[in-house]
Symmetry: C2
Subunit: 257 residues, 2 copies
Amino acid sequence: MTYCVAMLLDTGLVFLADSRTNAGVDQIGTFRKTVVFEHPGERVLVLQTSGNLAVSQAVINLLREGIAAGDDKPNLLNAPTLFDVARCVGAALRAVHEHDAEALQRFSIDFNTALVLGGQIKGEAPRLFSIYSAGNFIEATPENTYFQIGESKYGKPIIDRVIRRTSSLNQAAKCALISMDSTIRSNLSVGLPLDLVLVRRDQLRVARHVSINDDNDYFSGIRRTWSEALRHAFAELPEPDWLQAGEAPQRSASGGR
Amino acid sequence: MTYCVAMLLDTGLVFLADSRTNAGVDQIGTFRKTVVFEHPGERVLVLQTSGNLAVSQAVINLLREGIAAGDDKPNLLNAPTLFDVARCVGAALRAVHEHDAEALQRFSIDFNTALVLGGQIKGEAPRLFSIYSAGNFIEATPENTYFQIGESKYGKPIIDRVIRRTSSLNQAAKCALISMDSTIRSNLSVGLPLDLVLVRRDQLRVARHVSINDDNDYFSGIRRTWSEALRHAFAELPEPDWLQAGEAPQRSASGGR
């Protein structure tokens, strides 16, 4: 499994991905799920992948070959807009589907992969896309601050509660790490190291790419202090008075009801 | 969908369930998913159901018929232990499977249902079981404080972080409501009203059965203040210093990496 989250803010983009891959619990590996393409000063693109690893690796390979070919076909470094870049990624996905889907089906393996693409190209605002297995995609609009792929549910509530477009990159990074911590605690198939990529609006290059492992002091601190802070916040909330000592039951009947 | 959670504590049991049922987003209804069977002073049993509504209603009907038959076959009110009660529930599930599974299969409908059973019978400690579609089940041991069925992921992290066997019933009720709130915010198919049932250890009857709707002051207050408390706790945590103003990028390369 995988958990990736990407956030689009007024001041830039934050990407966080785990690196655990598994084919059953007895076959677990570490594969990076974040790929950066950049031409500093002109464009910065970040791709996160989830789902079938063979499919997502093939997609990344085709995208790199497209750049290396150097012809006038659209590729990640010459496509004029991020919408066109998303179409390049979609086309690569469709090419892999064309090549592999039938063979996978013979083994009852779903062709499933999901990608998040974000970044900025000179002349455009930063943009964020969520790309599906079919190669189609949606883009974050002002109402959407983030996309998740993979094991998204455990880490979703905290993002919904604290992140807005106006949040800072550091706030968003902090929230993404808390969201990842909740996910790692609940799903064994999501694990360290993490890839955190920060992109500042209009800088057109990666501002910071941090690889986070067990020995990362900030992440260790967040894991510990967030649990403490939650327990403290929980303790501070009033308790219900539905159960006072010695209270008689409110409703009572014998048999089923 | 459904979200039910039940907690087993040193001082008793807490059960919380939503009541939304859907067959597609255009067909949503309200059905209670909590059923109480009690013989005050001798036993109290609480069942929560999720999955196919026709299956779980049929199970409850068979269990009620078993009680009404009044013969010497094991039923929910004469089974000597909670383990035997869990077997009764499993047997009812298997009887429904026998009757319906083939017909469902012809319509490609999975026979899926999951139940949580908890309570106390005189002479035993309170016990908690999670019962699967096949009629088999597991019981909470001292390491397990709770079971969830249905849409369990959104509301799991908060329980893991704050609830222990030593938590009070009121603390557990508060936590269950926060867990439910996170779930309702993320999954439209989980909705009010909620059924909250509190059982005190050795009281052998329901201590409190609360039906919680929009107009419940405590739940409304928890929903609002928990969001505020989380945002406050989040704001109090230190931010990373990975991104200082004007900092040069840490790693940089053109092309993919």
